[in-house]
C-alpha cells in the first residue's frame, strides 16, 4: 500500500464506518466501535508520511481508480490541506474517544461519526468542486442524523432547521458549480485556476455570480452572519461529543473550502466585505453569547464569534493574516472541542444546562473544573494558552482600524462571558441563591433523571453522576495538554506556520500580498513579539474590562437587557429571510 496516497485519509474512516455498520450485528457492539476509532486514529500514519513531502513545498495528488480528469475524481494535498486534514484526524479521534464515555453511543453513532470524518477529509482533499458538493452533502447527512441522535425534541427541530437551510444553501452551491461548468468548462480546482488566469474570465459577471453562489452555499455551513442562524441550536442541542466535533472541526473545514474557492477564482474583490462581515460576526455574536444562560448555546455563539476573527483575518489578506487565520482555526478547534466536552460533563454532573443555576464544581470535581478553566482561559486569550497566541496573530494582522476595534471589543466580551462560565469551576459549597433553588428543582425532577443514568450503566451504578468516565477524562486531558503546549511553544509554531504558508506549495498567499488592499497594515508582523510587554499589558486591560463588562451584564439593568437579547430566537422563516438577504448581498457584490 502506498502510504503517501491522500485517498487513504478518506478510505480509513470510511472503512471504520463499514466496520461499525457490520458490528451492529455483533453482540458486543463496543468492539467494532473501538476498531472504527482506531482506524480513524490510524490516519495519522499516512499523514506523518505525507508531512515531509508536503512541507517541502510539493503537492501530492492522486486520481481515484486511475481515471484522469474530467471524468475521474482527483485528490490534491498541499500544506494547507495537510493542516486541515491533521486537524480532522486529531480532534476527530479525540472526540470519538470521548464518545465511549457513558456507554450511550454505539455502532450507529460511530457509523455516522466516521462518515462525517470521511466526508470532511473529502471536502478538504478533493480537487474538483463537484466532489466538494458531494462531500458537503455526505457531511450534511451525517451531521443531521448526529444532531438529532438523542432524539430530543429540540435536537430534532434543530436538525430539521439545519437541514432545510443548508440544503437550500448547497443547492445554490450547485448552481455555482453549473455556472463554472458552463463558462469555464472545467470543474477541477487546478483546471479552473489556470483557465481563470489565462482567459481573464475572473472579471466576467457570470463568474462573479458563480463565486457568490459558491460562497453562499459554503457560507451556510461556515456560519458567519447572515448565515449563522442555524448554528446555536444545532450545536447546542446535539449530543455533547457531536457538538465538539461540529464546532471544533466542521465549520473550519467549510471555511477552508471557501478560502480555497476564493483563491482559485482570485476573488480579491470580496476581501473587504469579508473583513467587515468577520468583524460584525465577531462582535454581534459575542454580545448574544454574553446574554445566554444555556451553557451550550453560549459556547455555540462563541464559535460563531471566533469564526468572525478567522474571517476578518482572511479579509485582511496579507501573509501575516493568513498565518493568524490558520493558527486561530486550529487553536479554536482545540479549545472549543475541549470546552464542549467539559460542558457536556458539567451538564451531566450538575443536572442543568443553565449557567446561573449550576452549582460550583471546584470542590467536588477538581479535574473537570481544571479542564473548564484551561478551555476558558484559552478562549479568553490569556497567556500562556493557545488562544492568546492565535488570537494575537489573527487580530494583529487586521490592519483596518475600525475592524480591529470591533475585534478588540469582542475580546472583552469573550472574557466577560467566560468569567460567567468560569464561575462554575470555583470551589465552594453552593451558589447563594441559584444553587438553593436548583436543589429544590432537582428534588422535583431529579429522580427520573437519575433513574435513567442508573439504567444506562449498571456496572458503575450511580457513580456516573459524580465521576467522569475515563475515556472522556483522557480526551479532555489530550486537548488541554495541546492547548497549553501550543500556547507555550506558540512563537515557534507561528514562525513555522508562516514558513509553511509562504513556501509550502501555495502561491496564493504571496500573490495576494501583491494585491493587498491599501488600508492594510504594511509593516511586517513578527510572531516573535508575542510575549513582549505591550501585548501582555493589552491582555491585562482586556481582562479587566471583561470583568467589568461581566459585572455590568449581571447587574440588574444589565440583566434585563441580556434577558431580552437571549429571548430573541430566530424562527425558521426569519432564518430563511436572513439567507436570502445574504444571498442578495453576495450577488450584489458580484455585479458591482
Amino acid at each position: 500500500m502506498n502510504l503517501s496516497d491522500p485517498v487513504l485519509l478518506i478510505a480509513l474512516p470510511l472503512a471504520g464506518s463499514l466496520i461499525s455498520l457490520v458490528g451492529k450485528l455483533l453482540k458486543r457492539e463496543i468492539v467494532p466501535c473501538i476498531a472504527a476509532s482506531v482506524l480513524v486514529a490510524l490516519s495519522a500514519v499516512p499523514l506523518t508520511v505525507q508531512a515531509a513531502t508536503v512541507f517541502a513545498g510539493s503537492v501530492l495528488s492522486s486520481q481515484l481508480g486511475g481515471w484522469g480528469p474530467p471524468v475521474g475524481i482527483g485528490l490534491r494535498m498541499d500544506a494547507l490541506a495537510w493542516i486541515a486534514s491533521a486537524m480532522i484526524v486529531g480532534i476527530g479521534s479525540v472526540v470519538l474517544l470521548s464518545s465511549f464515555a457513558g456507554g450511550e453511543y454505539r455502532s450507529r453513532y460511530f457509523f455516522f461519526a466516521t462518515i462525517l470524518i470521511s466526508g470532511m477529509q473529502m471536502v478538504t482533499l478533493t480537487d474538483d468542486i463537484f466532489t466538494m458538493f458531494v462531500g458537503f452533502e455526505i457531511i450534511a447527512i451525517a451531521a443531521y442524523l448526529l444532531i438529532g441522535f438523542d432524539q430530543t425534541d429540540a435536537g430534532l427541530l434543530a436538525s430539521l432547521k439545519y437541514l432545510i437551510l443548508s440544503t437550500v444553501g448547497v443547492l445554490f452551491f450547485l448552481i455555482g458549480v453549473f455556472l463554472v461548468y458552463r463558462d469555464v468548462g472545467s470543474l477541477s480546482i487546478s483546471g479552473i485556476a489556470t483557465a481563470v488566469r489565462e482567459s481573464g474570465l475572473a472579471n466576467s459577471r457570470s463568474i462573479h455570480l458563480a463565486v457568490a453562489t459558491l460562497c453562499v452555499g459554503i457560507g451556510v455551513r461556515t456560519a458567519f452572519i447572515p448565515f449563522h442562524t442555524w448554528l446555536p441550536e444545532a450545536h447546542a442541542y446535539a449530543p455533547h461529543p457531536v457538538s465538539a466535533l461540529l464546532s471544533g472541526v466542521l465549520i473550519k473545514v467549510s471555511l477552508f473550502a471557501m478560502l480555497r474557492i476564493l483563491r482559485t477564482f482570485e476573488a480579491t474583490y470580496l476581501n473587504e466585505m469579508l473583513l467587515w462581515i468577520g468583524g460584525l460576526t465577531a462582535i454581534v455574536s459575542v454580545v448574544v453569547a454574553l446574554s445566554q444562560s444555556d451553557l451550550k448555546r453560549l459556547l455555540a455563539y462563541h464559535s460563531i464569534s471566533q469564526m468572525g476573527y478567522i474571517l476578518a483575518a482572511f479579509g485582511a489578506a496579507s501573509a501575516a493574516s493568513y498565518t493568524g487565520l490558520y493558527a486561530h482555526a486550529v487553536g479554536h478547534g482545540l479549545f472549543k472541542s475541549l470546552l464542549f466536552l467539559a460542558a457536556g460533563e458539567i451538564i451531566h454532573v450538575t443536572g442543568t444546562r443553565n449557567v446561573y443555576e449550576m452549582r460550583p464544581i471546584g470542590r467536588s470535581h477538581p479535574y473537570l473544573a481544571t479542564m473548564l478553566i484551561v478551555g476558558a482561559l484559552s478562549i479568553a486569550a490569556i497567556p500562556p494558552f493557545v488562544g492568546f497566541v492565535s488570537k494575537q496573530l489573527a487580530t494583529g494582522a487586521v490592519g483596518t482600524p475600525a475592524v480591529s476595534y470591533l475585534l478588540w471589543a469582542t475580546s472583552v466580551g469573550t472574557v466577560a462571558s467566560f468569567v460567567k462560565v468560569g464561575r462554575v469551576a470555583l470551589p465552594g459549597q453552593q451558589l447563594a441563591s441559584g444553587g438553593a433553588s436548583r436543589e429544590q428543582g432537582q428534588a422535583q425532577q431529579g429522580s427520573p433523571l437519575h433513574d435513567e443514568s442508573f439504567v444506562n450503566d449498571n456496572t458503575s451504578g450511580g457513580d456516573r453522576s459524580t465521576r467522569i468516565a475515563p475515556p472522556s477524562a483522557i480526551a479532555m486531558a489530550i486537548l488541554a495538554t495541546a492547548c497549553i503546549a501550543a500556547g507555550i511553544y506558540g512563537e515557534r509554531l507561528a514562525v513555522s506556520l508562516s514558513g509553511i504558508l509562504a513556501g509550502g506549495g501555495h502561491d496564493a498567499a504571496v500573490e495576494v500580498e501583491a494585491t493587498r488592499h491599501a488600508g492594510a497594515d504594511t509593516t511586517s508582523y513578527e510572531p516573535s513579539d508575542l510575549y513582549k510587554g505591550r501585548k501582555l499589558l493589552e491582555t491585562l486591560l482586556i481582562a479587566a474590562l471583561g470583568a467589568a463588562v461581566y459585572a455590568l451584564a449581571t447587574s440588574k439593568r444589565g440583566h434585563t437587557i441580556t434577558e431580552r437579547i437571549s429571548a430573541i430566537r430566530p424562527q425558521l422563516g426569519s432564518v430563511l429571510l436572513f439567507f436570502v438577504a445574504g444571498l442578495s448581498l453576495f450577488a450584489l457584490f458580484a455585479y458591482v
Binding site: 474530467p70 471524468v71 463537484f130 458538493f133 458531494v134 452533502e137 450534511a140 447527512i141 443531521y144 442524523l145 438529532g148 438523542d150 432524539q151 430530543t152 425534541d153 429540540a154 430534532l156 427541530l157 436538525s159 430539521l160 437541514l163 432545510i164 440544503t167 437550500v168 443547492l171 450547485l174 448552481i175 453549473f178 461548468y181 458552463r182 442541542y237 451538564i347 451531566h348 443536572g351 442543568t352 444546562r353 443553565n354 425532577q445 433523571l449 435513567e452 430566537r569 424562527q571 425558521l572 422563516g573 430563511l576 429571510l577 436570502v580
Partner: protein, 120 residues
C-alpha cells in the same frame, strides 16, 4: 425560454421553502429546487445535441452526442437529493408523531416553551 422556465421552477421551490409553514410543503419545495438545478445541468448538456451519448458500435463523434458529463454528475446529485429528502421526511415524521402538527411555527413555539433544561 427554457432557461426562464427552469428559473421559475427554482423560484417556486424557494418560495415554498421560505413562505409555506407546513414542513412537508417545505420539503417538497426543496425537492423542486433540486430538480431545477438538475435541469440546469441536463439542459446545458443537451444544447449541442440531444442524441444519447452511448457507444453501440465502434466510435462515436463526440460533437454529435449530448455532453455526458452533466448527466453523470446529475445522477450523483439526484441520489444525494433523494437522501436529503428521505432524512428530512423522517425527521418531520418524528416531530409529527410527537406534536401532532407539521406547522413549523407551532413546533417552534411548543418546543421552545418546554426549555430543554435537563441533560437528556
Amino acid at each position: 425560454m427554457t432557461w426562464y422556465l427552469i428559473c421559475a421552477i427554482l423560484a417556486v421551490g424557494l418560495w415554498a421553502v421560505i413562505a409555506l409553514p407546513n414542513l412537508i410543503r417545505k420539503i417538497v419545495g426543496l425537492s423542486m429546487m433540486n430538480t431545477a438545478v438538475i435541469l440546469f445541468f441536463v439542459y446545458q448538456g443537451s444544447l449541442d445535441s440531444t442524441s444519447p451519448p452511448i457507444v453501440t458500435d465502434g466510435s462515436v463523434d463526440p460533437s454529435l452526442v449530448a455532453d455526458p458529463l452533466p448527466q453523470a454528475l446529475m445522477l450523483t446529485a439526484i441520489v444525494v437529493g433523494i437522501c436529503i429528502v428521505a432524512v428530512a421526511l423522517v425527521i418531520a415524521y418524528k416531530l409529527y408523531e410527537r406534536f401532532q402538527t407539521l406547522d413549523v411555527r407551532e413546533l417552534e413555539r411548543m418546543i421552545w416553551k418546554a426549555e430543554p433544561d435537563e441533560p437528556k
